[in-house]
Amino acid sequence: MAIMSFIFAFFFFSSLQPILSLYEDQVGLMDWHQQYIGKVKQAVFHTHKTGRKRVVASTEQNIIATLDLRSGEIFWRHVLGPNDVVDGIDIALGKYVITLSSGGSILRAWNLPDGQMVWESSLHGPKHSKSLLLTTNLIIEKDNSLIVFSNGRLNAVSCIDGEVLWKKDFEEESLEVQQVIQPPGSDFIYVVGFAASSQFETYKINAKNGELLKHESTAFSGRFSGEVSLVSSETVAALDSTGSILLTISFHNGKISSQQTPVSNLLEDSPGLAVIIHSSVTGIFAIKTDAATIFIRVIGEGKLEVVEKTNHETVVSDALSISEGQQAFALVQHAGSNIHLTVKPAHDWDSNLLKESIKMDQQRGFVHKVFINNYIRTDRSHGFRALIVMEDHSLLLLQQGAIVWSREDGLASIIDVTTSELPVEKAGVSVAKVELNLFEWLKGHVLKLKGTLMLATPEDIAAIQYMRLKSSEKSKMTRDHNGFRKLLIALTRAGKLFALHTGDGRIVWSHLLQSLHKSESCRQPIGLNLHQWQVPHHHALDENPSVLVVGRCGPSSDALGVLSLVDSYTGKEFSSLRLVHSVAQVIPLPYTDSTEQRLHLLIDADKHAHLYPKTPEAIDIFQSEFSNVYWYSVDDDNGIIKGYALKTKCSGNVADEFCFDSRELWSIVLPSESEKIITTATRKLNEAVHTQAKLIADQDVMYKYISSNLLFVATVAPKASGEIGSVTPEESWLVVYLIDTVTGRVLHRMTHHGSQGPVQAVLSENWVVYHYFNLRAHRYEMSVIEIYDQSRADNKDVWKLVVGNHNLTSPVSSYSRAEVITKSQSYFFTHSLKAIAVTLTVKGITSKQLLIGTIGDQVLALDKRFLDPRRSVNPTQAEREEGIIPLTDSLPIIPQSYITHSLRVEGLQSIITVAAKLESTTLVFAHGLDLFFTHYAPSRTYDSLTEDFSYALLLITIVALVAAIFVTWILSQRKELQDRWR
């Protein structure tokens, strides 16, 4: 009997071991992954050959990617590092993608079909300069070659293996090379540039061996401004630095002849400062003034003629040669909600090869770039397709007057994310588009049952899998019981707000914010962050939730702020405010008004606090809590942390009852010669903590020091703020502080000698975990600090606790100066980190796990129990029972606990955790260039049945059991009767 129960107990407990990995067929059930490439900078089409037509693009996020021209899907994609900016791309030999990057010092060739790197060569030169990539069909020593100008050196590089065939330095200090031109069919190259901003220089170079054939230069009375535009292979157009005189310079056969034309001669009204637009259309160039874009044709020897003046936002593409000697280019203009795409031949402005009008979503803004490509129609005429990049960074392919596909690449640059609940499902109003009927439901369950009983055929299994993945349940537009369905609201760098459904990641709505749109009063608007403005749940359920978008007009900290309030159900911007003050900080207060609008305090650069919303009710609520509201600022440049309280109304110009002066309460000045602030961390506002007590072995209690006013600050030696390895361990240290931000009290200070940043930290409950590099051990380390309230520790009398005669739950003030003790421990960790977060559950009961964004762009879950300062090499029996893991010097990385499983979130920036309504589950959203979302249960889903639980099987079992009971009852009755008759 005892043995039996032991065996039973063994199986029971062994089945409780958490298994955190997921099965192959569970991929895609809870998670979704979206890949983006970012704002396209340059695109090259590859449509000549038979096979899949594709377009190669380089983006501002330093990505090179090839997309399927039919669907816009990514064939392959390479993310170059943040410092490896792509300068130019091209296709060589019809099979290699050539990229020039890192300021022209790295030239790479990638295999077009599969994206494998074929060769890489590094090009160095005498000085820093503009980088130009020119693919030619020149054959030097039997190799097709590329001409690259970078770092003051002209290189001819073999296409086959990347070998430098010849090089020619242009060492003259002041020379700024503007263009490298190879006239078609010739075997020489022109290098055109300015010297000392006023000399025009041309070099004619033999393309076969790099020999200098001719050098001409001519002086110009004024100064040149930047760009030149190529008008023909031997003529360029330039502007002088005042932007008022146009120059056309031709250098036929090395002879330089120039013509000066004042811009005012061409245009009647004074255009103001003009800039030349880079284009490569023969015979035509464009200049842009404040009001208009002007297209100018060059006729004969330096004669100029204005062909068109467009007042709209107009974008012009590069020239495309469509047949022998014929070039075409595209123009895109806006007209109301339509855009007009016009393709014109280069030689004849007035005729159009194509003119299309396409209805365009207003939420995409203006067209920023256009790339064209041609194809031969069945009637042998030319057809054109255009790839356009919009203001919101989206990418669209236009063909035959329609949008073939679009990509929302704005989502590759998310600034901030918040969440919003979905509408409540009301009786009679079904928001779900596809409700399953009973038959379908039954069919599905029968299929599932077959799967459970292992009777399913492979087709059935595929059907089951499809059903699970496409379950309409998860993508409904209403709230669910478990709180899994939410809206993720993301603000992108382009100033567009997206709402993504957590069920399947689709875009519910998107809105290009008017307040973050360029205008006269706001030249360079940037979005800063997002806050939940109104979260109705109790008494304002009729209201829609809304989010607050905070922005600023310009990059400097004293630029005026802009606010806009967006309805999170519809995406309508129902209020937008241009502030009269700057925005240095946004502090959401823990108070809401009667309509559940959260009070926010905006601190401006002059340290005035402004209360929003500006309603009398808000001010009443705020007045009652006035003396308890503090704020602090961390000046990381000067190493000063200051705390402020609010004083009375703003002294000064206008009587504004929503504006308050600040009074400095405390400051912590870190010695600038030895410490530099690199990281701060605070607790999440919405984090729920279940209990203040931590039970330790032998029924003992430690009281956590739980305060939302805790600030973690990490500083390093100023010398050591550079890259890892730039200093010796002796001159490098890392100091961490835990500071109470109400009183400025330093609760804990610790120095890690011989350690260096970058530091990633996360603060939750009463602990902080941070990651840094240990120079002595040559390894990354993670440390944990736990902070406990010692002044509560003497609450040990059971009887007092039983009758509730204790002060453990009475409100505490930071001024009561609780006596704290800290415990800390450090461990080695293999990875370097990009981001760190912690799981968040609705009540905070579930044990915590750290979510680590590794350098490989994956998200790894690490149990917090591994980072417990009470770990020791030989824990006692009681400690083992408590769940303390024996101390090891490094943290284990369990391959199954990668929550991104086989996927990568390229360019991972941050990990956001949101609590679901189900206590066991946290929703994880990781974003970078890619987006990844999943549900994660740190201690498994102990409070719900798993998704693959077979209700049908349960039902059938119950029915069968009931039937069996009846049958046996009847049988036994009959038997009894027979027995009696015997």
Binding site: Q585, I587, V629, V634, D700, N709, V742
Partner: protein
């Protein structure tokens, strides 16, 4: 029975009456043999039965004491089992502990029943009963003690504060590195 009677009534050949008429001399026709006294037999009989009763009472009292002491063995046994079970919470130790708690309780509930067979107005049952109760209470105490060693009794501060929500804070502070 009816049948027999019917037969007897119809044609009885002979019958022996086994009924003992010895105690009723008046109804007898035949005088007692000489030297036989009926009274002495009667007296003797009652003495024997009294003796018997005494013996039985003794025996009952003895038995009652035995029954009262029985839990002691049980107690020792339980103690041994508990020692075997160890102080960690698992199925076995919990089973043992709960049986150790349940046994005395059920025994205490049935105190009357246990001593019912030994109920006699001559037998003093209070002593055994008290012993029985005391021993069972001892067993119960042992069970409770075991429960406590397993940590299943709320006798520590930790049991009362484990779900105490954090104290509310008076002050609120926000901020950080300027945007």
């Amino acid at each position: 029975m009816e049948k027999g009677k019917g037969v007897l009534g119809a044609g009885r050949r002979w019958a022996v009456d086994f009924s003992d008429n010895s105690t009723a001399p008046s109804s007898r026709d035949i005088p007692d043999p000489p030297g036989f006294t009926r009274a002495s037999v009667d007296q003797d009989d009652s003495a024997v039965s009294r003796q018997k009763k005494d013996a039985e009472a003794n025996w009952k009292a003895q038995k009652a004491w035995e029954v009262a002491q029985a839990p002691f063995k049980n107690l020792l046994m339980m103690g041994f089992m508990m020692w075997m079970a160890g102080s960690t919470v698992h199925l076995f130790s919990i089973g043992i502990t709960f049986s150790a708690l349940w046994q005395p309780i059920s025994a205490l509930q049935g105190v009357g029943k246990v001593f019912e067979p030994y109920k006699d107005n001559k037998v003093e049952l209070l002593g055994p009963k008290l012993l029985f109760i005391a021993l069972n209470l001892g067993g119960l105490a042992l069970g409770v003690w075991k429960l406590n060693t397993l940590g299943l009794l709320p006798t520590h501060a930790s049991d009362w504060v484990s779900s105490l929500s954090p104290a509310q804070e008076v002050e609120y502070s926000g901020g950080g590195i300027p945007l």
